[in-house]
Assembly symmetry: C2
Homo-oligomer: 199 residues x 2
């Protein structure tokens, strides 16, 4: 079958969404056209505004259109704790556990084979943030994958001898998993059971 | 956790998509912002163009921004066959079976409890289309649900005595199912095994 050009274009464009294949994209396109055109237009506006307006928080590097994200702007959070994660979705996952310290968001993990070294993922900015802050503990919450572990160890090495407690989330996080996919209870447990990386 | 306002707005808007809950919407929003902003902007443009530009084919009533949809505009299709379905997604499903006759797309099915009578779902337009055409067979391919069956029977009653062969798709379509969710092979079988509705 053929769809008219505008519908075909919409279906193709919907496929950029994670987890959306051809059949799902068709259903989405036709259902919006049939049942919720004003919702479709609101989505278009929200997309444009976000894609053009959202940058990065100047302090933690998470996604935000404001100079400081809501977490960094909140004066009531614990300034002695810094949680280091691989991406903005991980902030969301850790936040669900009730954690109320500060964050630093890397651009993923070290991946020498892809040419991603410390500079590419923002480790200099992390070290500067730590130097400028008054943290007593750095929680290394990179993913429990080979690359995430290597990244955590690299950062721990860089911070040795600075009088910081360096911890790594531990129990309950399944090996090889993605932090952002772990349920809140498991992650809360992992966070509570964090242990020093360097004894 | 809190997202910045533009991100929150994008997440809320993504939830209008069928099958997209809060968690999926968050992943979609953050992944687009992280990895594919130009794709997000293209999607916004395609949404606006489709929501504002797509109307209905003047002949079969399916979604199309052109006066005639690709199916109606194609001169090589069989003008003796008319397949009546409940919505544009069903055209797509039937088309996958290799059917190459014409279509008429109702606005759903008769639903007296919701106040949806023959006029509301486009049955007068269907009868006008049949009167203006040169069909020998009308295939009633409404969904195999209680309402879809009732709709097929209502249409069959209206067409009695007009010298038309009235058929209903049959074998292979699971009772209570939605036509648009049936795989192509099953639907091809159901179409081949169609039987007269009025003996
Ligand atoms: Zn921040
Ligand atoms: Zn048409």
């Amino acid at each position: 079958m053929s769809f008219s050009p505008l519908i075909r274009q919409l279906i193709d464009s919907l496929r950029i969404l994670p987890g959306v294949g051809q059949k799902t994209a068709q259903r989405m396109a036709l259902q919006m056209l049939e049942r919720d055109r004003s919702g479709g237009l609101r989505l278009a506006q929200a997309l444009t505004a976000a894609m053009e307006g959202v940058g990065h928080c100047s302090q933690c590097r998470t996604l935000s259109e404001d100079h400081l994200c809501p977490q960094c702007a909140d004066p009531r959070r614990d300034d002695s704790l810094l949680c280091v994660v691989e991406g903005p979705l991980d902030v969301f996952a850790v936040e669900q556990t009730g954690y109320r310290g500060r964050y630093f968001v890397l651009k993923g993990h070290l991946s020498p084979l892809d040419g991603l070294g410390p500079e590419a993922i923002g480790i200099p900015e992390l070290l500067a943030r730590i130097a400028a802050g008054s943290f007593s503990e750095i929680i290394l919450a990179t993913n429990p994958t080979v690359e995430g572990e290597a990244t955590a160890h690299y950062i721990a090495q860089m911070l040795l001898g600075k009088g910081l407690s360096l911890t790594r989330i531990a129990h309950g996080v399944p090996l090889g998993g993605e932090l952002e996919l772990v349920d809140g209870g498991t992650l809360a447990h992992a966070l509570a059971g964090r242990r020093p990386m360097v004894e």
